[in-house]
Symmetry: C2
Subunit: 902 residues, 2 copies
């Protein structure tokens, strides 16, 4: 027996089922499945993807037995539908559609109304009772077929605007003009009959071939055209982008046509089994009476709601399907229940009512937004449709983002004018009036305005303005620029590197694409996507704690996960915020951020400008109380939880300004000569600061800095402990590449700890560990672990060094790398498991071998990226740490990871 | 029986031997060995290092049986010497010396003349016949003993300049002043007798204890002091620096005193068994009649040559030992032969003639310079003393450096004034007159002057001046600065980063440490050590090819090695030079160096400034013939050998100047507006250029660059092949971190190769491979190898990224890291086997697993570092590549590696 190449479905039976997507494509498999479920679908059959593969390999040849198998399947369809393909009296019309394993929307071809010929016309007119309907179907067939089959699939490329479809549309327009009508629907049967004639003449003239008047010739032409469209230009480039293998091929679905436009007893519609915007468990959809599917989408007629709850502003006064055809609505409602029971998920369905008969054309998993996803998952679990594990897996971690930040109202956003695009540095939406300086931001804000701070770049001096702004927008800088880092830490909306902006600070104007905006003008930012709009868009506020579905789902998720989730926070406010989001400690407290306050930066600069250790110690003494106070606030906020504090990391030149004016200002305030400051700045200048004198390299050449910081941490810890706060300090040395570096700093820290504890008269258990952020540290983790209580993978720097990419400069080639698929993802967003991940696994393995009690975590940006969290789980980290607003996402991703493992 | 703690030697016998260095220390073991050989050494015994360990563990206690064993050994010594310790009539005097496993020169204590007391004085006077000699010995004993034993080892710290030794010296000075004499030798017996009395009083007064007048008390005091000196401050810090374990301990050597100052029949000297300066096989040494060992070193008297050939300017008129004591000289000559026969190496010996009796005090392997080392090794092999393998291993690879570059005459250098110190960027010596610009260099040179080009930094515009200069000196820049790279490539003497230089270009002066030098002043540079001298020092020219010993040794070595040695060369001249040095191909031809010529840089800049691909292609077309010509020259020079050519590596901004004047100049010459150039420079600016848009990242974003280079290489290869030259081109893509990058470039190169071969009508087998210089490349070498014919490890960049050190900036902390022993070596000089080496091994292993035919080499600076070459051998590379002048060193190191393996 020859191989089965064709699978029939219809009348409550089917040869295929939903599991056969590889062979039948998604659409074909689901049609078969619905048919098996007894749901009414127009009968038909699917030609398998294997035929496509054969067709491509053999330059358009079909397997030998195909014709016979199609013939047999067609007979079955005819029997089921009680019609006959090509029959003059009772003709069956067919649709021919593509359907790959994965949906490739609009990338391949479709031909409808196959089977209409001079011979079958009259039979169909008699049957349908509408000459106009039939000629309308016929002219549609000619347009589609001549385009798809006779022109495109024949490899004819007539040039822009000269395609046969365009030419026919011009003819139709000509006819409408001569008849003085505007809409296609105003053409009557006689007009369309005439049009069909005009079309046929035109087709033959242009394509040098008559339009085929044989039903079977039409069918095979359409099948071949659909197969060929698999290798169309659009489809190929789509597959490249989506990494879909060429050899998958497409199936072809041949199905009896049903018409929603056979009169007032016919209709067509789309629906969701639950509300995709809110997730509420209610049937939600739209339909049109006497219409074809494309009319619902086209927007020429206002769709009606299928029921009362689906009504909106435009449809509120129109009758619903429930009103008009209550029986059919009930039938549809039953199908809805059946589909959800069967698929255990919310479905997106298409249906057609032909002369009082309901047909389902498609069902697939419905798209939904984050909030809806959460509610549907929780409610389906409560309804017993899915279990808790499934409920958790139904929601993608990144979908929670929508629940954590105010968002631009998607509907208004769709209609808004895009002003510019930049890098999405801080998620959520931000709406406000433009200001160009931090001081102006404060002034406007104090008067009750909402402001957006727009700068070329931001610097530590702008912090007060950034705080009060609704959002931050910069023309320069990358994802690690000052603005991006600060905004992410605060969970504030921010777009950076928006390089089409031309800011004039003195005029307080902003030129962009020939448009000039001025101070006080409203703009809106979508920080999740990096888009700036030139008007005021309403915001949808969100407080996840008020969302009971979110809380329930997170509670379920927390029970599943093994990973602890900590946060990156540098001050008490962020620490409290993160704790509310569920953080179980601090994984990274960057002490340098504490030096940028105006009262602190001057002492910091005094330290840097000092000529000798004595001078540095004097300046550091001034910084100590500030640091101690910050640490006490943080310990209090994290009472009972571990707090990892990193010693000074950035190169010293980051604390001195580069421009003459600021240098002179410092000269005045510090009493150090301008020349000396200038010289110091030159001396500190580095060609590659990323690889320069920073991290523990500073602590080793200036041990007094580490000593001061260790003292501030321990004094804060001891004094907090005496107040009854449970403190678990972990002191972390950055940028270690050799065991000796950590040993050097560890000895220094231990000595300081002992001194402070002696003086304070209390002991506080303190861990001393290191960042693993230099490739060499991972490679020699076995040595380093002998002097380290914990490892925290700094995957930002580790990625920079492992790839040899400067995050600040990679913008020059990374976008092209992603486009050309040289990289699958931006390695700074999603951890590169193949390369960087090897170092991480190696580091953990070697580290734990040398010290079994080693605590291991991650504190790079990747700690908040779901894919990367899954990796951290796999390599058996103890915790991940991320910015406060990513904590829920990380918690949820950790649960996914644990479930994936099962 | 209790453990043996004491080992005797003397009179042709010994209980120990040379193999027992761990137990007896180096000195003790060699004394025993000489004694066994029948060489006359003063009899004595060694207390083992185990006693030291015990002594340290037990706070100064000795093992129980030590006293008895010392007693027994002392009896033997007395018997051998025919004298008795503490005996009034025939007293034996002893020396007590430290002696660790490894020589720690001057770090521990020595006490001489032990056993001199009021009781033994007279006997010794009678025996020696010289009252003056005995009192002189006595006052030396008191000085040494009170200092070492009574003060230091008692833990007394009297403060700077207040030590007992100083006080006694003041007393001696007082006496000399009162006697109106200058030298110690002018004091007569009566003076010294008086001095002894003064000394004893002073010692008792200051140290509150009388000077011990009992021989045995003196002996045990001295032994204890020597043991204690193992834990002296100096010794401890020396051990830290040299990584000598504390638990090794020192042995103590107690030996009969012999005196070279007993009159005209006595003498003392030092000698080498061969000439340590030339390696010639002739006895070479100096001596003094009637003197003690320290007198030969002190330089107060002019030493005499032991024989005619040892004579120099100062000793040429003085009689030799051969003249004065022919029998003893003959005896010494016989010992010389015996020692060489026994130790199979050139020895550095100390001897004393006491009243006509020859005693050997020490023998050890003699230090020698490079040329001598080579000659000695070859001649000893020819004499049958050692085999070829041993001959090779006798010469350290780095010693060959001295044979490859002209050197400053070491004798003149010793006397010269050091002007400044910098980084040793190019080895050898350079002597010339200062010029401050490349143009001046050319002008002066054309007038017959030798010049040294002195600049803050050099740039590609200075190339013509750098070429003609004898040496290059810069105030700024590190070991990878432009000057350093160029100089190393040329084997030219160069010192960079000499930051005490203050250059005034307009005045044409150079200020350094308050001194001002002007154009035309002579300076001399030692590029091997990084020292600048403020005068003209003579040069010792070297041409290794004229050195038959060198040639012979290299020929032997070449037979042993497995590694191939290639060179890094960018032009035909260097290629020829390298081939003369024995290079077996080119491992790295950096094409960017070819773009810096004045005729090329403008086309290069045109390419960079072009707005679109068309413009770039136009400019590249101009560069193509230059590149092709260079390649043809290189292929010719390397006829029959492989040539690896790397496509463009540096970021484009390196080809555009930063200063306004030069930018304006370019504007004029290219016709591009100054503003456009300025904007381009700003656009190309990078925060971390090391990690920026360079290497294959350029070739991917600008495929036309790679295409032009591949075309130039292939056209050159095809046309050379047609001329009968055997070409083996290997095209190398730099900075690859992902397989996809290499795949992208490989496809492009392959396409170009096919096109060119088609056009030229000839096929040339070409390999396409990559640098492994990014950690990720090593980590994913298995993937990359699937599209790579060869790997070349770029360990410069690999070290930068694995450590996270920018080589240009690391100067801010590396010196301190080396000093604090946080790093054992500069990882840019010697490959870090622990960290970077792991990536290298991993890369090779993974790469070969994926492609067994994978060719593997190294082309970083490490390819010329002997230790690193050994590593490359161990990890089974096929070749190393280094700069031309390092080729012989690499060849030799490769032989060492192969021999080490056996």
């Amino acid at each position: 027996m020859s191989k089965k190449l064709v699978y029939s479905f219809g009348s409550g039976k089917a040869e295929g089922d939903a599991s056969m997507k590889d062979l039948l494509g998604g659409k074909g498999a689901n049609l078969a499945e619905m048919s098996r479920l007894g749901i009414p679908v127009p009968a038909g059959f699917t030609i398998t993807t294997e035929v496509c593969t054969h067709f491509m390999k053999n330059r358009g040849d079909y397997p030998e037995s195909l014709e016979n198998q199609v013939h047999t399947a067609l007979s079955k369809t005819e029997k089921t539908m009680g019609q006959k393909f090509g029959d003059p009296d009772n003709p069956l019309l067919l649709s021919v559609r593509s359907g790959a394993r994965i949906s490739m929307p609009g990338m391949m071809e479709t031909v409808l109304n196959i089977g209409l010929t001079q011979k079958t016309l009259t039979g169909l007119i008699a049957k349908s009772g509408s000459e106009r309907f039939v000629y309308d179907a016929y002219r549609r067939l000619i347009m589609m077929y001549s385009d798809v089959v006779m022109e495109k699939s024949a490899g004819i490329n007539p040039g822009e605007g000269k395609g046969i479809r365009n030419l026919l549309e011009l003819e139709m327009q000509k006819l409408k003009d001569s008849r003085g009508v505007k809409d296609d629907t105003e053409l009557d049967a006689a007009d369309l009959k005439k049009l069909v004639k005009i079309f046929k003449t035109k087709v033959e003239k242009v394509l040098k071939k008559p339009f085929p008047d044989d039903a079977h010739e039409q069918l095979w032409g359409a099948i071949s055209a659909v197969f060929k469209s698999w290798n169309g230009k659009r489809a190929i480039s789509y597959r490249r982008i989506e990494s879909i293998p060429d050899e998958w091929g497409t199936a072809v679905n041949i199905q009896a046509m049903v018409f929603g436009n056979l009169g007032e007893n016919s209709a067509t519609g789309v629906a969701f089994t639950r509300d995709p915007a809110t997730g509420e468990n209610r049937f939600y959809g739209e339909f049109l009476v006497n219409a074809q599917g494309e009319d619902v989408v086209a927007g020429t007629r206002t769709p009606q709601a299928i029921n009362r709850v689906s009504k909106n502003e435009t449809s509120k006064h129109l009758p619903t399907l429930e009103d008009l055809m209550p029986d059919l609505y009930n039938q549809l409602e039953k199908i809805r229940i059946k589909l959800e029971k069967h698929y255990h998920d919310m479905q997106d369905i298409e249906f057609t009512i032909q002369d009082g008969n309901l047909f389902m054309l498609q069902t697939r998993t419905g798209k939904r937004n984050g909030a809806a996803a959460v509610r549907i998952a929780v409610e389906m679990c409560q309804e017993g449709l899915i279990n808790q594990n499934e409920a958790i897996k139904r929601v993608q971690p990144h979908q929670l983002d929508e629940l954590l930040h105010p968002m631009l109202d998607p509907k208004s956003e769709k209609a808004a004018e895009i002003l510019a695009k930049g890098l999405p540095a801080g998620p959520g939406g931000g709406v406000g009036q433009i200001v160009f300086s931090a001081d102006d931001a404060e002034t406007w804000k104090s008067k009750g305005h909402s402001v957006i701070l727009v700068r070329d770049e931001t610097s530590p001096e702008d912090i007060h303005g950034m705080r009060v702004a609704e959002a931050i927008l910069t023309a320069k800088g990358g994802m690690t620029s000052h603005a991006a880092l600060v905004a992410r830490g605060w969970g504030k909306c921010c777009i950076v590197g928006c390089d089409t902006l031309d800011i004039n600070y003195s005029k307080k104007t902003l030129d962009v694409k020939g448009k000039t905006l001025k101070e006080g003008d409203w703009i809106s930012l979508n920080g999740t996507r990096g888009i700036v709009y030139s008007n005021k868009i309403s915001l949808l506020p969100e407080d996840p704690e008020k969302n009971s579905y979110y809380k329930k789902l997170m509670a379920w998720a927390d029970k599943k996960r093994r990973l602890k989730i900590r946060t990156n926070a540098d001050n008490p406010k962020d620490s409290r915020q993160a704790r509310q989001f569920g953080a179980e400690g601090i994984g990274l407290c960057r002490t340098e951020h504490m030096f940028f306050g105006p009262d602190r930066i001057s002492a910091m600069r005094e330290m840097i400008l000092a000529d000798n250790e004595e001078g540095r110690k004097r300046a550091l003494k001034k910084l100590l109380p500030f640091q101690r106070k910050d640490f006490m606030g943080i310990f209090k906020a994290m009472d009972g939880l571990p707090v990892t504090i990193r010693t000074l990391d950035p190169p010293l030149h980051e604390f001195l300004p580069n421009d003459t004016a600021s240098q002179k200002e410092i000269a005045e305030s510090t009493g150090v000569s301008y020349q000396a400051i200038k010289t110091k700045v030159q001396l500190l200048h580095e060609l590659n600061p990323m690889l320069g004198h920073r991290g523990c390299r500073l602590g080793i050449t200036y041990p007094e800095i580490t000593a001061m910081q260790a003292r501030a941490i321990m004094e804060a810890a001891c004094r907090s402990a005496k107040k009854g706060i449970k403190v678990y300090p972990e002191i972390m040395i950055p940028l270690v590449g050799t065991k000796e570096e950590l040993e050097n700093q560890r000895l220094l820290v231990e000595k300081t700890i002992e001194e402070v504890q002696e003086k304070e008269g209390i002991k506080v258990k303190t861990l001393i560990g290191t960042m693993i952020e230099i490739p060499r540290a991972a490679l020699t983790a076995d040595e380093i672990a002998t002097v380290s209580d914990f490892f925290s993978f700094g995957t930002n720097d580790l990625t920079q060094m492992t790839f040899g990419y400067s995050r600040d400069d990679a913008g020059k080639f990374l976008p092209e790398y992603l486009e050309k698929k040289i990289l699958p993802d931006d390695p700074f967003q999603t951890l590169d498991q193949t390369g960087v991940g090897q170092l991480v696994s190696m580091g953990i393995e070697k580290g734990r071998k040398a010290r079994s009690s080693l605590k291991v975590g991650i504190c790079g940006e990747h700690g908040g990226d779901p894919q990367s969290v899954v990796f951290c789980h796999k390599v058996k980290m103890d915790y991940v740490s991320c910015s406060p607003f990513r904590v829920p996402i990380a918690r949820f991703a950790a649960a996914h990871a644990a479930l994936d493992e099962q």
